[in-house]
Amino acid sequence: MEVTWLHLIPLLPLVGAAICGLVGKWIPKSWVYAVALASVLLSFLIGLRAFIGLGEQAPLFHELWFNWFSAGSLHVDMAFMFDRLSGALTLVVTGVGFLIHVYSVGYMEEDPGYWRYFSYLNLFIAAMLTLVLGDNLVAMFVGWEGVGLCSYLLIGFWFTDEEKAYAGRKAFVVNRIGDFGFLIGIFILFNQVGAVGFAQINSAALPLDVASMAALCLFVGATGKSAQLPLYIWLPDAMAGPTPVSALIHAATMVTAGVYMVARLSHLYVSAPGVMAVVAVVGVLTALFAACLALVQRDIKRVLAFSTCSQLGYMVAALGAGSAFAGFFHLGTHAFFKACLFLGSGAVIHGLHGEQDIQKMGGLRKYMPSTRTTFMIATIAITGVLPLSGFFSKDEILGQALHTRAFGFLTLGYSGPHLAFLGPLIYAVGSFTALLTSFYMWRCYFLTFSGEYRGPENVHPHESPSVMTVPLWILAALSVVGLVLGLPQAWVHGTWLQNWTWEHFTEGVFSRPRGGPPEEFSPYLGYGIALIVGWGGWASSRALYYKRGLAGDELLTARIHAVRRALANKLYVDELYDFIVVRPLWALARGLFRLVDATIIDGIFVNGIPALIAWVGAMARRFQNGDVQRYLAVTALGVAALLYVFLVRG
């Protein structure tokens, strides 16, 4: 259904960003807050109204805002599409975004750059909504780059700290690498399909090699944005930004852009079974890898950052397994509980005056009851234990992966149940990762909130103001209520709940894998395993850390110091990249600098041309030496030459 109000959703935060950024410095603080919060809230309300309006008569809203540019057969429109997929994500972005805006009012209270901060935050919401609502790849790319820019600006928000500015640059550069793949993917699709709209792409019948190549290139973009192997390295460093930013951008919304993009193009992906296998393997390996790294981190935000990487790995694995629904569902629940965890960690950091090291926390249960309770609820949710939201979303992913028929070979396409071992393998690795997840999240919880306070005497922990704790409670509540969204259709069929499940929301949005839907399976065995795994992680973590505190780390790795050291140093991946990528690039850049810049440009052009002119001038100056006799001699010779030419030759 064509509508005319859809562009308001991204436009309002953009206007808010402009107001805060341009005049925010001079208007009262409360006006900045009002503008920033109201613009996001209005977007949320419009989105909510639109989402309720979706139904049989209007499966999607579409608006052609304006024709952006046309060149030859390429027509790119600024057009928006609001269906159940983009609508659900719009609600998550604006809803969680609004809560984080509210929280930020408390968190950034004392920062003089608050107007800049809210401007960036609003700009981010606008860019993210463009990404989500854009009905073609180019419009999406605008948002894609926009969120990358805002991410850079907000990571390096305290840019006077060189380390934080570096983290911002690192995130930007690594994302550029992914964006390059994304761009190539767009080019391939335009070249082959002749259009960039999602509708055209998803309805085009592409040959296998084209579909595989395009899907693979786009997936490179997704690995950059969604922090998957091998481009995840920017996310842990991105924690240099203010904590609400970590919650909004680096946990709940921006990092899910890659997942959303793959889900949006699910038809393209299911037509390339080889890429599906690649996607699934990358996802599950990222999940495992990041979970291992999270085990020994001592910075509370880094634990959560690696946990985000790991959870994104689950989502990507679900996409690869052909269950975009499960991945997208986990995206939604993850947005709730991970935002809650990050905001909780922000409240802890705020209450400890900037301390991020869990070594110096402990015993905060007494001082911050609200933060502690909400953090615990979110922790239970992420560990995937009944009765909280992470349970169904994670188990949906693992169950679908176990029984999927989506995989094929990269070159052969789908012609039967290839790679049948891959599904169970993903299930096994994913379940093990779930155990690790439960273990490190509870470790983080116990070290922060249980035991005795280990920080310095002069720091007095205190609970945050209610402007910060209320969003925490709302997010914690959503982490619980999110459970309903995930109830299997079979359980709620015929009851009033059946219209409120995520499965119902996203019905008919995603394409089914080539190999057909997964075989019918009973979820109960999977549920049982998940419960054992979840509580097992809790029990082992409690046994190690509840009483001992950090000494548990020593106990855990008493015999294998090398492993622990390697994990604590993030398996030396940064060093590896430094060795493989950064140093050769430096060397190349230095060589190019010496050859091209210093020798050719500076040497020949910049300094060479003036030197030539100076030399010509020096030569010409010889004639101008003030010696009258020499002038005369030259004149006489000239006259003689002229006479010779005209009298003798002429």
Partner: protein, 114 residues
């Protein structure tokens, strides 16, 4: 012999004039002493005078309405007068320069340099 002199008289004067002019020019350009330079200029002027007289005696266009037998001589008198004036001014300059610089070597006077 008679014919030679009759036929080639103009060339003889002109060649001699050219040689004197060239010697004078060489003196102007090469000698360092300003007085010698001045003398060389006189030599060049006299070479010119000789040429004027040669053309007066052997006109290129006989019976030309442009000039008579005496026009070359008149020009020579003007040149002699001018040369005398020039020599006096030149000597005055040389004396003035010598007073300020205690030298009359022309290669030391290069303040025209850019």
């Amino acid at each position: 012999m008679e014919e030679f002199f009759h036929a080639h008289q103009a060339q003889h004067y002109l060649v001699l004039g050219a040689m004197l002019f060239a010697l004078g020019a060489a003196g102007v350009v090469l000698r360092r002493n300003a007085i010698i330079v001045l003398m060389s200029i006189e030599l060049m002027l006299n070479a010119v005078n000789l040429t004027f007289l040669a053309f007066s005696r052997f006109p290129l266009v006989p019976d030309s309405p442009m000039g008579s037998f005496l026009s070359g001589h008149a020009a020579v008198f003007f040149v002699i007068a001018t040369a005398a004036a020039e020599a006096s001014v030149g000597l005055a300059i040389i004396i003035a320069v010598f007073r300020s610089r205690t030298s009359i070597n022309v290669d030391e006077f290069d303040t025209l340099k850019l």
